[in-house]
Symmetry: C2
Subunit: 236 residues, 2 copies
Amino acid sequence: MTQVKTAKFTVIKQHICQKIESGEWQQHAKVPSENELAEQFSVSRMTARRALQELTEQGLLIRSQGSGTFVATFKSQSSLLEIRNIADEIQERGHQHHAKQLTLKAVAVNEEITILLNLKSSETVYYSEVLHFENDQPIQLEQRYVNSVLVKNYLTQDFTKITPHEYLSSEAPLTEATHEIEAVLADKNICQLLNIETSSPCLQVKRRTWSSKGVVSLAILTSPGNKYRLGSHLIF
Amino acid sequence: MTQVKTAKFTVIKQHICQKIESGEWQQHAKVPSENELAEQFSVSRMTARRALQELTEQGLLIRSQGSGTFVATFKSQSSLLEIRNIADEIQERGHQHHAKQLTLKAVAVNEEITILLNLKSSETVYYSEVLHFENDQPIQLEQRYVNSVLVKNYLTQDFTKITPHEYLSSEAPLTEATHEIEAVLADKNICQLLNIETSSPCLQVKRRTWSSKGVVSLAILTSPGNKYRLGSHLIF
DNA sequence: CAAGCAAGCTTGTATATACAACTATTGACA
DNA sequence: TGTCAATAGTTGTATATACAAGCTTGCTTG
């Protein structure tokens, strides 16, 4: 007897999932109430509740106090793509990552960047350029504008040892991020750095990160389209 | 007195979040145990537990049976990008979406597609080509290979009325998806359809969707880089 | 001294109970 | 017939309790 004991709430979850996947319970169908499930599976209401709760968090069910629990609309289920750190990503592939710091200075920036960083006037902003390598091949150029008010010691860091993202995470715990992903043609200088033709398409991710005190930084990550892809495996 | 009553577990969550955001509790720092929190806030252990549990689900904490609860590593917190239906996306922008069905037939496919769809031999596969328009401008070409075993009536659908994704969701509830995002140069035919130069970079999303019975379909979504971007606003 | 065991802490699962908050239905009354 | 109030059913919050399961520590014992 080597069978693994399955938790009761898991059994109930599986039962409900099966009903939905088989199509027996259509969209918006009413799901048995906590009390009904409790009786049906001979468990307490709190156990049945947990099953419903977790499936609700996963987006399979919708609950409404007073009226009941229902199967969620499928089409509203959007899938999620995980955006990871380039360094982590490379290491997970079993490859070697190293970074080269090209620029690190305070700059005066144009209006667009000022707005994106949510600054008042044309305050100075810290700017860094780091080129990331995967097995000695250039794989991503990271251009980063940093809020000099929120991050004090940015200019004294060595970004060959710690990535800017890691440093910022430790300085000002990040709570939110917005991303924009585009396909672009990079300009001549960037193409030279990435060792590609000027006609090669590049994947460009613009990431703005926030801490509780405001916008921390704007990162522009440019990668050659023929060498790099964003990938993920995620649940609905 | 119009103050809103805050649930006790919410108060505890806020307290813990504040400690982490302020930096008082660093990465890997030990968080008070369920019993300690329960005593500190004069609540039952189950209530304190709920606070820890929910923060764990959000990725702020890590719990380990026997040893305790700890602040999660910030760098391992990856952010999530929501990938939505093109039709929903356009509608949310307040623009008008319509689709033109270019192709819909059974085809014999090459080995690559066979493998991606997890089929045995070179079975026939359904293939559709749908061009999506935003305000009468072509914005995305959707090429889709569909598992003919799992989806029977694919060839009789009208994809100007319902998108393939919506139809597949209703036929075989999707449970998982994998995505790959690349920047590419599209071939001449595709550029013509999208009304762009052949040198224009395109954003290409390859999406494989799964039901409980296997791979349902492989979609190749190609959009002009100068007109379309993937965007999102999401929590860590 | 080293190995191993036991105690005590932690989180995980489960139950029974109570009350609050919200919704939909039912029924009484005007 | 229309309106309002009571009621029953639902989910939400909270408590007290019990035992299971996993980790750490320290002590016992060989």
